[in-house]
Symmetry: C3
Subunit: 298 residues, 3 copies
């Protein structure tokens, strides 16, 4: 059986295959016969409306049906059931499981007890492969993936999407510019892992130092609660804010991505620039998830 | 693109067209090919099980699939995302959006950022066009819509369904009898707007004064929290309660409507009278919403 | 119209018919034409993710669509609507109703006001016929239903699943061994009812006294909150815990069932024994509910 748990499990050939499939699917828009009669179970132990809805949309476009666990409070989990038991039971109700869980490793554990394929939609500080695949897909819509110079901006310490993306990009010989405020730098463990995969990380504290040299600028949110007081948060937030003037300093082909939702990190004035690809990026989530669902159930 | 935001935007010809279409659909009961493969997104920032379920039922009868946002707490909105961003993102997931939002004007705003049609399912004190259309449809099942004398009863100050209905009825040269307790009268702004549309409003404080002259009696709930104390609420509530004896004072063809849920405003003894049309009215919600969905997506 | 409210309403012939139908359905796995275009409404006034999801899975496998009420807080019920009114309204939205409600008798009441079939998915201390049917179905997969010796273990006072199962088994001339700690014994009313149906109940306080004589051991949870303090709970819980050693004392053909979720009542070491049928039992819930849905709507 085929599970999709971590980007670290995927070879370049497999990622390319999924992205190719997403491209074919996007060209057709929907394919209502592919998963007709199939049932997808969405088990979100942490809420995420957007990820859930884009999986549901993907399943519907393939002709299948989605069932959702509803709130954790209403579930057998609230009565103290183990994740292993929950997964064994629901394996009889659905043809594949999408799991989001606060505990790192939960998806891997689930895959060991499930009798149907499991897709990881986020496990704590761990992996969220569908986000990484849609990030790669969006980049590939604008330029070939090989040898890119990619800037990761914002909270690189806690932001798991940037970690997964960097790991995946190492398969494509990217150079990584890690741009983060003091205290929120990319963890040294990730930097070492990337080095082991042949990828060099350069570190910066200001985007101006490096923006004219990037192909992709991947912006993430800096969370207020990481800072001791509002003043120090505002100070950092304002210097990590992407504006139209800043984007005009970049090479014309540079694209701006963001996993969304954004708060103030990207000025709304950037939205109208051709470099802004973050809404398209969100939309590509459906095609990429259609590819993942057809991969595990098709 | 076609949005349905406010009854005020609709011409008589458009309303007649939607009601005709609802009638054709009701005769067929369902039409599973019309919206096969289409996806409806339900974004309810205020809960409303009934409106949501009747849109979902309508979509299912047309062969389409519905996705729901789930709770606001679980969504990106809780992280501070703007409505404009939310709408831009989900436009990539669905083929039409049904929006309920506590802020007046939210649906109009959403329609400016959406790349798919938007149907307003209630925005604060603003419009709720599907309710008005099903009210009109229910009346038309019993009598032609032109030149009717319609009594609006209950909380006419805060009750938005009565405002929308009165505005729509002005296209059909209705006369309006506004029957409300002191302090909950129809706002003067609505009375002036109706006058500008050629519709005369007469005001009453007791239903007995006017019931023998009505074709339609539209009853709404009086909410306890509008009153300073329980005694003054009970006093008003009891004199605005519709009983079988009261209905027998009306012309035999007069119909009783209510947007539901009802509390004590209508005595259960009325349910068995041929004048009681409020449950049929609720059921017509499905046909009318099928017509709306096929109008914007068909 | 056909409702399914209580096991007490069902004759042996009807139960056999439903179980036969479930068997045919399980062989085919799904039948997407049987209920195509039909809509099932799930009204859970008490949460139960598992029961709800298995009904939704069953409906999807038959080609139909499910709508859920969502939370009670979000519904018209929160505004004070009567169950009778709610049921009358939603009868216009769906083709059948599955109801779970905290009040005993709620499903029977609903069936009187509904214009579509009602299936009871639990009403307070009352009935939950789909659980009983899947229990019987699971037993019948292993052995003929007639003349079995069935041990019911755990909280037999408050555990409604054991009551319903015992009532149904009386149609098949079962002998019941009721094994419960002091204070949680099978209520005398149930024992008398069973006697009136020709079924003898023997009572035990320890499973060791009787396990070698059973064909089926039906384990249920003992809830901590039934005990005055943690020590007395732990004392009881440990002596009502099923272990591999205990199962090895039984006849080889004895099967172990549990309505799930389990806490500590069954040692995970039992899972690998051929006697353990509780996960299959949960899975059979889908086939049995497909049979019920096709019975009332097919």
């Amino acid at each position: 059986m085929r599970h999709i748990i971590s980007v670290r499990d995927l070879e370049r050939r497999e990622i390319d295959g999924l992205l190719d499939r997403a491209g074919e699917i996007e060209a057709r828009r929907f394919d209502p016969d592919l998963l007709a009669g199939r049932i997808l179970g969405l088990f979100f132990f942490e809420p995420s409306t957007r990820t859930r809805m884009s999986f549901e949309s993907a399943m519907a476009r393939l002709g299948g049906v989605s069932l959702s666990m509803g709130s954790v409070e209403a579930s057998s989990v609230a009565k103290g059931e183990t994740l292993a038991d929950t997964i064994r039971v629901v394996s009889g109700y659905v043809d594949a499981i999408v799991l989001r869980h606060p505990r790192e490793g939960a998806a891997r554990l689930a895959s060991e007890f499930a009798s149907v394929p499991v897709i990881n939609a986020g496990d704590g500080a761990g992996q969220h492969p569908s986000q990484t695949l849609l990030d790669l897909y969006t980049i590939r819509q604008s330029m070939p993936l090989d040898g890119l110079r990619v800037g990761l901006l914002g909270d690189l310490r806690y932001g798991r999407t940037t970690h997964s993306l960097a790991i995946a990009l190492s398969l494509y010989k990217a150079e990584i510019a890690a741009i983060a405020p003091k205290g929120l730098e990319l963890p040294s463990g990730i930097i070492h892992e990337l080095a082991g995969r042949g990828t060099v990380v350069s570190e910066y504290t200001a985007v101006e130092e490096v923006i004219d040299d990037l192909d992709v600028l991947y912006v993430t949110r800096i969370q207020r609660e990481r800072f001791p007081d509002v003043a120090s948060y505002l100070d950092v937030a304002s210097s990590y804010r992407i504006t139209p003037d800043l984007v005009r300093c970049a090479q014309p082909h540079m694209i701006v991505l963001h996993p969304l939702p954004r708060m103030d990190e990207i000025d709304p004035g950037v939205d109208a620039l051709p470099n802004a690809k973050y809404f398209e990026q969100a939309h590509h989530g459906v095609s990429v998830r259609m590819a993942m669902l057809s991969e595990v159930m098709g």
